[in-house]
Structures are given as structure tokens and as C-alpha cells.
Symmetry: C2
Subunit: 505 residues, 2 copies
């Protein structure tokens, strides 16, 4: 078999067309969240359904299946682009054949309706508005899992879709290891840490200037916002790509809290560098993706935190930021500002959480999902369960659903291990960062001069450029020589908190 074979070319063409339709569906989704007028929702939902059913039909096409089978038989070297393409494609095709078209349509409808009612529920600050949609989403998510793997635990199936190769047992183990580290660390900080004053972040920051500063920072780290990307406003920040040369990030702005937009922008720009780093040769193939949600999040969390909340970054960027906000920051020291953006405090909103409590937000969500799937929890009881978990893990209770159970967009389209990727991403980011530092020791020094390119280039070469060629666990091993381990992340966080809070641990 070679890329020149007729069958392989035919396969490539079929896949390219499916990818085109997926990109167009992504564009439609982007538009729904950014510019679509409210009235557009009903028809757009129908259009999305049509497109999703069509994509499914093409992916489940028996002719495609026959091509895959014929070509797989001819594989001699499993470590080639062609072999990887066939490996993932076989998986995607099989999953599609397991899904009845009616379920695809139901799923698409549940997601469109979910998004609309989630937006409305947030506006009205009323969970009941969202509840019927949520029930339907849970039902459809479960049915999807059952269709794909009738004999498996549904949540395990959905986890494997997002994080191929990971079992629920592994996640439980990683998470409890992390929890056992985080809870004492948090207590340590709260009781023995030198207090941090982050009041300076809660002044009025002109949203237009926030917009500019975020734009600047995203460009600085190497996300091309000039000819290959855009930044827009949406209710929930996200990243989407219509090709490596057209990558869109969104953000939201809060007048009286600086970190919201800034760090979300770095986060999404991190995702954006991944998408811009996918080679053109893979972009229209099944390999033109990250191998897992966790790998994608490793890039967003990397730039948001390991870089964006680091001392060297602010050595460089704080003087720039002072120019954007002279009134707010002229008389603030770099040290005060650095400590403020690293303030650790139990808080309500995941995307605004500090690096220590962040993973507790994820653990809460994962536990709730587990309970929903086990039917130990009904969707109607979700808000109460949410609040109880926040009280238990973080000692705070959301005053209303918008700051509680309605805060994330994720459950408005699908439920099932929807958040684990963030915590896996944190771990992967630290493990990759550790490796990158070994290889390019002067990397961090460069941040202080605004030179982020050695890190970006290392990620481009080792992570982005390979797309979805390897299973996530294999990829991590190829890059770092090791399996996924929480230790690099825990070491990173310990060192960071010792520095910020002058802890003696």
C-alpha cells in the first residue's frame, strides 16, 4: 500500500469531504455562539441536524468500511501515516456504524435545544428552564454510549471517546491521588501562607482595553491573530478551527475583574496554537486533530498557567500591561501583581479558579457525572448536589445557578466525562513542560524577554505536528519517555505555591 494507490486516494478523498462538512458544522456552531441573532436558533438547529446526519451517513458508509478493511489488510509497517489513518478511521467508522441515524438526529437536536435553553436559563438565572433539555441530553448521551459499546459501562465508553485508552479506574486513581495532594496544599496555603491581596484585580478595567491587552498577549505567545486567526466575544469562551489557517478563539469580558478575559484569552490562544500547528498535510484527514481532549487542554493550560501565571512572563508583560492600564497599575509593584494573579482562594467559577482549586472544580463535576450515570442522582437534584459538593470541597455555596450548576456550557450538548480532560491537561502540560525545559534549558529565561518561541516550537514539533497520529498514552511516552504521572504537576504546583505563599513545605 502507498499513498499513491487508487484505493487509498479514494479513501483520502472521502475522508476529506467528511472533514470539510465537520468544519462547516463547526463554523455554524461558532456563528451560533458569536453573531447569530436570537431568532436564528430554530432554523439553525434544523440545519445542524441535517449536517450531522449527513456527516454520520458518510462516516458510516459501507463503501468506506470496505475500503478501510481492504487497505488495513495491506498494512506492512504499522508506524506510518497510512497505518495511523486507518487505525483511527476504523475506530470512527465503526462507532458511526453503531449509531442509528435517528440517534444522531436526536443527539443533534438535544444539543441545539440544550444550548438555546442553557443560554435562556442563564439569562433568567433559573435552572428549571434548562432541566428538560438536560434530561434529554443525559438520555441521549447514555443511548449513544450504549449504541457504541452495548456491553460497556456508558460513562466508560464516553470517557474513551474523549480520552482514548483511559479507563474510569485510572481516572479515579489519578484524581484521588491529586485530591489527596490538593486538599492539604490548599489548607496549608489558607492557614500558613503569606496573605495575598488581589483587590487590585477587582477595580474597573475598561473592557475595550482588556480586549486589546488580551489580543496583545495572545499574539505574543505566538497565536497568529493576524492572517490565520480571530478573536470574538461569546458567553462561554471557546476555540474552534476551520483549518489550521482559520482558527477562532472567543472570550468574554468582565469590567471589574481583570483575570477573567486575560487568562481565558491565553487559555484559548493555547488551544489556538495547537490548531494552527496541525500540518496542512493532515488537516483534511482523521489525523488532523489532537489525539485527546487532555492533549488539547495541555496546550491551553500550559499557556494560561505554566507560562501565563509565571514570574518570567510577568517580568516581561507587566510593564506592557501597566501601559494599557496606567491608572490601575502605575503604582502597583510587579511582586504584588504576580502574587495577585496567583491568589489561591476557593471560588465559584471554574474558568476563573486558581491553579490549586481548579482541579477540585473538575473533581466535583466528574463525581456528579458519575452519580448521574449510576442513577444515584437525578438531573432535577443536580443543583443541590452541586452546591453540596462545593460546600464540601471548597467550603462555599453558589448563591445562584448561573454561578453554580449553569456556569459551564459543556452539559448543554453532552454529558459524560466532559471535564476530565482539563485535569488530564494540567498533568500533561506539566509533564511536557518539564521535558521541554530539559531540552531547552534557557527557555524560561527567554519568557522574561518576551521570547516564547522556543517553547512554542518545541510544542509544534513534538505535539501539534503529529496531530492524532498516536494514541494519547503512546504520544506522551514518545515525547517524555514516561506514562502519564501526576508528579510533575504536583511538583510544579508545590514549587509555585512555596514561592507565592512562602510556604515551608
Amino acid at each position: 500500500m502507498s499513498t499513491g494507490s487508487h484505493d487509498y486516494d479514494q479513501l483520502t478523498q472521502k475522508v476529506a469531504e467528511i472533514r470539510d462538512l465537520e468544519r462547516i458544522a463547526a463554523l455554524s456552531y461558532w456563528d451560533m455562539q458569536t453573531y447569530m441573532p436570537q431568532g436564528g436558533h430554530h432554523a439553525r438547529a434544523e440545519q445542524q441536524d441535517t449536517l450531522q446526519v449527513l456527516i454520520h451517513e458518510k462516516m458510516a458508509d459501507p463503501q468506506l468500511g470496505a475500503l478501510i478493511d481492504a487497505l488495513r489488510e495491506k498494512i506492512t509497517d504499522p508506524d506510518t501515516i497510512e497505518a495511523a489513518t486507518l487505525h483511527w478511521l476504523a475506530r470512527d467508522h465503526k462507532e458511526a456504524t453503531q449509531m442509528p441515524p435517528e440517534l444522531v438526529r436526536e443527539k443533534s437536536q438535544a444539543a441545539s435545544n440544550g444550548m438555546a435553553t442553557w443560554l435562556k436559563a442563564r439569562e433568567e438565572n433559573d435552572f428549571q428552564i434548562f432541566l428538560p433539555a438536560l434530561k434529554q441530553i443525559l438520555k441521549v448521551s447514555r443511548a449513544t454510549a450504549r449504541a457504541i459499546k452495548p456491553d460497556s459501562d456508558p460513562l466508560a465508553t464516553l470517557l474513551d471517546q474523549r480520552e482514548p485508552g483511559f479507563s474510569l479506574g485510572e481516572i479515579n486513581q489519578l484524581f484521588s491521588q491529586l485530591r489527596d495532594f490538593l486538599v492539604p496544599l490548599l489548607n496549608n496555603i489558607l492557614h500558613d501562607g503569606q496573605p495575598v491581596d488581589s483587590g487590585i484585580l477587582r477595580e474597573y478595567y475598561d473592557p475595550k482595553v482588556q480586549w486589546e491587552a488580551g489580543f496583545d498577549a495572545a499574539k505574543q505567545i505566538g497565536f497568529d491573530l493576524d492572517k490565520r486567526g480571530r478573536k470574538d466575544i461569546s458567553v462561554h469562551p471557546f476555540t474552534t478551527a476551520f483549518s489550521p489557517d482559520d482558527v477562532r478563539i472567543t472570550t468574554r469580558l468582565r469590567n471589574n475583574y481583570f483575570p477573567t478575559a486575560f487568562f481565558a484569552t491565553l487559555h484559548e490562544a493555547g488551544h489556538g496554537t495547537y490548531e494552527q500547528g496541525i500540518p496542512a498535510s493532515l488537516a483534511r484527514s482523521v489525523l488532523g486533530n489532537a489525539p485527546s481532549g487532555g492533549f488539547h487542554e495541555s496546550q491551553s493550560r500550559l499557556w494560561e498557567n505554566l507560562v501565563g501565571r509565571s514570574r518570567p512572563f510577568w517580568n516581561y508583560f507587566f510593564p506592557r500591561l501597566q501601559q494599557y492600564f496606567p491608572n490601575q497599575l502605575r503604582d502597583v509593584s510587579l511582586e504584588t501583581f504576580y502574587r495577585a494573579v496567583n491568589d489561591v482562594k476557593p471560588s465559584l467559577i471554574r474558568v476563573e479558579a486558581d491553579e490549586v482549586t481548579y482541579n477540585l472544580h473538575i473533581i466535583i463535576r466528574f463525581e456528579l457525572e458519575r452519580d448521574l450515570f449510576k442513577e444515584d442522582l437525578t438531573p432535577a437534584d443536580l443543583p443541590d448536589a452541586w452546591n453540596q459538593k462545593y460546600e464540601k470541597y471548597l467550603g462555599i455555596t453558589p448563591p445562584d445557578p448561573t454561578q453554580g450548576v449553569l456556569q459551564d456550557i459543556h452539559w448543554s450538548s453532552e454529558i459524560g466525562a466532559s471535564f476530565v480532560s482539563y485535569t488530564l491537561g494540567n498533568m500533561i502540560s506539566a509533564q511536557l513542560f518539564e521535558q521541554a525545559r530539559k531540552v531547552t534549558p534557557k527557555m524560561i529565561e527567554g519568557f522574561g524577554q518576551g521570547d516564547f518561541s522556543p517553547l512554542l516550537e518545541w510544542m509544534q514539533e513534538n505535539v501539534h505536528a503529529v496531530g492524532r497520529r498516536y494514541e494519547p498514552k503512546d504520544l506522551l511516552k514518545r515525547i517524555t519517555g514516561d506514562t502519564l504521572r501526576p508528579e510533575p504537576f504536583m511538583h510544579y504546583l508545590t514549587d509555585k505555591m512555596k514561592d507565592v505563599y512562602q510556604l515551608s513545605i
Copy 2:
């Protein structure tokens, strides 16, 4: 046959899916012209190709053809929604079956490439950049016509696609009748008219305030920009709809010339009212369109000119506009302003032309298209031919291609009777307006109080609500009792110019 029949339902569903894909393609096109970063072009073009080929495949589907044939045999009453649906669908299906998929792809590629190179050619003010694309577009347009009707004149076929039921002979006759009226009228104005001073329109008008004023005016005439529409910026203004509840118009702004954005906004808002007026019950069917380009333009030109350049409109809107632009307009009289926006003067840019010279711009383009199709003119010679026609009809020569042959977006995707709809639209608008006045005599008085709803409602009821149910000529006859006649437009223009220029004709 009834709407309840299984076959008819199946047909309706198939058509709805095609329409969904067309709407999604329109969204993609809108994005290309508004927000897509430059780098996005290449992949987007491939995505558009895939979508266009798919739409074509579904429209040419033999199963659809069989359904159409079976259902047409059962038609008993030709004046029903079902009969009209089958009439137009049979036409669309037949055209699709005549088109080889390869030509569909070539056409899509030529259009994507055409748009990109047209934008670039404008930027560089260099026709040569656009020339290869233009040749390809002409080639593909001709091949399309030949595929659809092998034995007909290609331009006649393309005309019939845009203006069903109209022959080239009819257009020639209408246009020459019009030209014989316009040229003396123009001379009369230029030699005997009371001079108009439109200098006031050429001051600096803050683009942001222009944006607001245009927004305001569009809403005033009844285009819903709140929940069912949007306005954005693009190089060439246009209107597109993803459903009657999601209609997008675009505009462009010139700092030093007020009419550009304002009247283009009214023009596009006029198109927008049409799209918003398509009943939900027709929106996903082949009837969810205007029956012709001319009918669509009748609504844009109506609101731009018959309303937007009328005395009663400005009686109402001028005090508002003075509030938007106090420095520019505080000391300007309504009369001066009214005459200024009706200034007749040979000019270079079609979309900015006055009502008298406007149709000469169209006639020039139509003659050039005719010459291109007859091969009396090559694409390479188009700029010279363009300039000669402008000299001949309007006595002026474009100083550069951006103000000349590159000014319109139309030829960047297709060539062939691409502009006749505007002049037909002018005629239809006047004929409809005359009829609307008969039925609601106090309509025009209302404009002076900002009440445009009787006219809009009349159009909604008589024009928008029927969609593409009737052939354009039939529709006009049903509404006005008459065939298309240039006289109402000529009478309207004569009266208007007598008023503005105090002519004694």
C-alpha cells in the same frame, strides 16, 4: 395528492435538507465576506466545493426525480402550493441533472478563486490579477449554460435562470426603451435643471455615527435588526438569509461621502424585509425564495429610492439625521439636503449612482456581458471596453480599475445577465408602488410621520408572503393586473426630477 401523502412528505423532507445545506453554504459565504481571516481562504474554498457538489448530488438524485414525476401526475389543481412546489422543483431538478458533478466543482472553484483574486486585485488596483480568474469564470458560466440547455444561446439560458420567463429580446427592448428615455432626461437635467449643491454630503461623517444612523433607518422601515437580523461590514454590500428569522445585511462606510453607507443600508434592508417576509411554512421549501432577481431588487430599490430618497421620508428622517450629525447638518435646510441626495450627476460607482444614471450603469454592464458571450470582446479587453462605454454613456472615464471594471463583486463568481435584475427591479418597484398607492392612498403621507408599515405590510402580503409560488410575470400580473411596463418607473422618475430640478417637461 395532499400534503399528507407519504410521497409528498418524503419529497418535502428531501427538499428541506437541500435547503438546509444551501443555507449553510450561504453562512459560509457570509463568513468569507465578513469575518474570515485571510488565511482561511484555501480550506474554505475546498469546503464550499464539497458542499456545492453535495447539494447538487442531492438535487440531481434520481429518487427525487422519480418522486417529482410520480407526484406531478397526480396534480389536479395547478393553483396550489403543492403544484407550484413541483413546478419549480422539476425545473431545479432537471437543471441539476444536466450539470455534470465535475462542472459543479469547477464552478464552485472558479467562484472561490474569483472572489479571492477579485479582493486582491481591488487591493492592488490591478485588473491583471483578476484576469485569469475572470477567464475561468466566463468559461465555466458558458459551460453551465450549455449543460443546462445545449441548444440555446448561453446568455439567454443564464438570463432565464435569474429572470425566469424573460428573453434576451425582451430585455433588449425594455432597456432600449429606457435608454431612449434616460439619455434625454439626463441632458435635460444637466442643461436646464436648477443646479444642486451636494457638497454637504462630502464632508467628514464619522463612520461610527453613520453606522448608527443606518441602523436606525433600517429599523425604521421595518427591517428587524433586533432578534431576526444583523448588520455587518463587507467590501461589497449584500444581503443573505439563513432563515426568515436570521437575515444578514452588510454595508461599507466611506468617511467623506454620506450616501454610500446610508442608501446601501436602506437597499440591503429592503432585501432584508423580503427575506424576513418569507413565511415559515415556505422557508425550507423551493418556494422560500423570491421568484426572480428582479423581484428581489424591487424591494431593495423601493426602500432605497422610492421611499429613501423621497421628500416625505426626509421630512421625517432629516431632523433625526441632524441629531446624528449636528456639526454637518445643523445649518442645512431640509430642501438643500433633499435635493443633495437626489443630485443627478454621471458618476463612476454603480451602487452610489443617482436614480437617473443608475440604469445606464446597468445597460453598460449588460452590453459588455453580451459582447463577452458573443466573443466580440475578450476578458483581457474588458477594462478598455468598460472605460469606453462609460465615456460614451456617461461622459466620464474611470481613473483606475477599482473605480471601473473591478467595482462590482458579481463577476467574481458568475458572468451572465448578472445585473439586469437591478433595472427590472427598478421597473417592478415603481409598478408595485403605484399599485400600493392606489390601494392605500394615505401611505405616502404616513412616511412623513415615520409610519412605513402600510407599505411594508402591503409588500409582505402581496410579494413576500407568496415566495416563489408564481412565475415572476404571473406574480406581477396578479398583483398589478398588468405585464411589466417601464412606464410607471419613467413617470415616477419624470415627476421626481421635475420636482428636484424644477424642469418644465
